[in-house]
């Protein structure tokens, strides 16, 4: 694996508070690397240090082989940035902004193509101040990609996007990666991290508390599967005896069986054996949100 980002013991303090506490990780070329965590966990500060926007108080950082602090000018030619809390001049037009940022790079992508890809065609002549939150967000992502970067940082890229636009954004980020760009994705949406990222780092109070593929994280930290079905029959006590079942509950006809292992198959087989064939038998598989809950003790949006 060719390493595009190497972080060793990165530390950042604001006043007396340590917001990033000696974290270490590596990101490989072509990877979509997710950083998840609640507000204040140190995600944004970390990616700002990686982009040379903040000076680290300790540790060693290499991005594309460069030191983001001392070689920021060279680094910024090769990376794309979509930042939180940034803006454009109020009266700049969409196409002007993309043309402007394209002028910063020798091998810029075609602004017109980006306008099309990111669904801004109707707004290409609109002033920045007249764009909706979602349109601004899409423009910022397009600006992050206009210099055809080797590595792109996307900090809460789908914040403010509606669900359809979010799915489109995911597809486009996958395309960006297919074209060879590595992606660092900071997000609070667990679904986004799970669907998009090759690996995910869970940040909590300035530390990385877990780092692996979404699948491995789920397998390790969240085995609980919930099987649900409706049954009018009473006397289903035998459900608790099935291998892997830890808990059975019912409310009226709605039955929930929780446990681990191949639970859906076991429960399904047992039901058929007892002559019950519920048409709505289904399982909720654990997801990254469950992992987050297990590891940090809180939901991601708390």
């Amino acid at each position: 694996m060719e390493v595009v980002i190497a972080v060793d013991g990165l530390t950042k303090r604001y006043g007396g508070t340590t917001v990033v506490d000696g974290i270490s990780f590596e990101i490989g070329r072509g990877e979509i690397f997710g950083i998840i965590g609640r507000n204040g966990a140190g995600k944004t500060t970390t990616v700002e240090c990686l982009q040379g926007l903040r000076r680290a108080d300790g540790g060693r950082v290499r991005v594309l082989g460069l030191d983001p602090m001392t070689e920021a000018a060279e680094l910024r030619r090769h990376i794309g940035s979509q930042l939180q809390e940034s803006s454009l001049p109020q009266r700049i037009k969409v196409w002007e902004a993309l043309r402007w940022f394209a002028s910063f790079a020798p091998n810029a992508r075609d602004p017109q193509q980006l306008i099309r890809q990111w669904g801004l065609e109707e707004k290409r002549n609109a002033h920045f101040s007249d764009l909706s939150g979602g349109q601004r967000q899409r423009l910022f992502i397009a600006l992050a990609l206009v210099n055809d970067p080797e590595l792109v940082f996307l900090d809460e890229m789908t914040a403010g996007l509606d669900p359809a636009a979010r799915r489109t954004a995911w597809d486009l980020v996958r395309e960006v990666r297919e074209a060879g760009t590595s992606v660092v994705l900071v997000t609070q949406y667990m679904e986004e991290a799970e669907r998009l990222c090759d690996r995910v780092a869970v940040f909590e109070r300035g530390k990385i508390v877990a780092l692996d593929t979404p699948g491995a994280l789920i397998a390790r930290h969240a085995q609980k599967i919930t099987v649900r079905f409706s049954a009018a029959e009473h006397g289903l006590d035998w459900l608790a005896g099935i291998a892997g079942v830890s808990d059975v509950s019912r409310r009226n006809s709605a039955v929930e069986v929780r446990g681990s292992g191949p639970l859906l198959a076991e429960v399904g087989a047992a039901l058929v054996q007892h002559g019950i064939r519920p048409p709505d038998l289904r399982a909720d598989m654990p997801d990254l949100e469950d992992v987050f809950l297990t590891i940090t003790g809180k939901r991601s949006d708390e």
């Binding site: 940034s86 803006s87 910063f104």
Partner: protein, 247 residues
């Protein structure tokens, strides 16, 4: 590469300026209003007691060239940049591959274009309405105008270090009105009280005005005035270099 960035940024900034009607009106119309009010009152008939025996408008027009620069450097430029900081535009630009100097360079170039437009309006207005005299040394005036630009661009960037646009506007307005009254665009130095003269002597626009008036009126240029003006510019630039924040 950097030249291309500077060109693109300057073009964008020029268009953005023209989309702000209030700023356009203030920087370009104000000196014209001055011209016609004072011209209406005094005309351009020389008075041997004041203005060094020159016609009032021959005296004031070069001062207004400096006043246009002051309006840009004390108000338009710092408020614009401070607003960029407030909104997060500077943050976005800093993360881009655009070299930092192109941000300031484009501001300086747009400021120069505005100042030039303002100068053309004032001079044309004064020539058509009051028949002012031609400058004795056009080259000298051009050089003086460039010095004025250096002084007020540097001061503008320093004022842009005030964290908020409101703060920058307050500081800029205060300085602008003091300089407008006491640096030669208002009452001539000869009729000022001692306190007014003392204040006048520390204001950059005072030196800029004298540097502009000398080649226009054919008075001897005091190189010490040029040195003081450029020294103020240098001091402002050095202070701005350490005080400027991108967010």
């Amino acid at each position: 590469m950097s030249a291309r960035v500077l060109r693109a940024t300057t073009w964008i900034e020029a268009k953005l300026f023209l989309r702000e009607p209030m700023t356009v009106a203030f920087t370009l119309a104000l000196p014209l209003i001055f011209l016609f009010v004072l011209g209406g009152v005094f005309g351009n008939t020389p008075n041997p007691k004041v203005y060094g025996g020159h016609g009032p408008l021959d005296f004031y027009v070069p001062a207004y060239l400096g006043l246009v620069w002051a309006a840009i450097g004390l108000l338009a430029l710092p408020v614009h940049l401070a607003r960029y900081r407030e909104d997060g535009v500077l943050r976005r630009l800093r993360a881009s591959a655009a070299p930092a100097w192109t941000v300031f360079g484009s501001q300086a170039l747009v400021a120069a274009a505005i100042a030039l437009a303002g100068a053309v309006f004032v001079v044309a207005g004064a020539a058509l309405a009051y028949g002012i005299h031609q400058p004795r040394s056009p080259v000298g005036v051009a050089g003086a105008w460039l010095v004025a630009g250096i002084v007020f661009t540097a001061i503008g960037v320093l004022l842009a270090c005030v964290p908020t646009s409101r703060g920058a506007l307050g500081a800029g307005l205060g300085l602008f009105f003091v300089m407008m009254m006491l640096s030669g665009s208002g009452p001539p130095f000869e009729v000022m009280t001692q306190v007014m003269r003392d204040i006048s002597n520390v204001l950059p626009l005072t030196y800029v005005t004298r540097i502009l008036q000398a080649p226009w009126l054919g008075n001897p240029l005091h190189w010490s005035d040029v040195a003081v003006a450029l020294g103020m510019a240098l001091a402002a630039a050095i202070a701005a270099r350490s005080a400027f924040r991108w967010e």
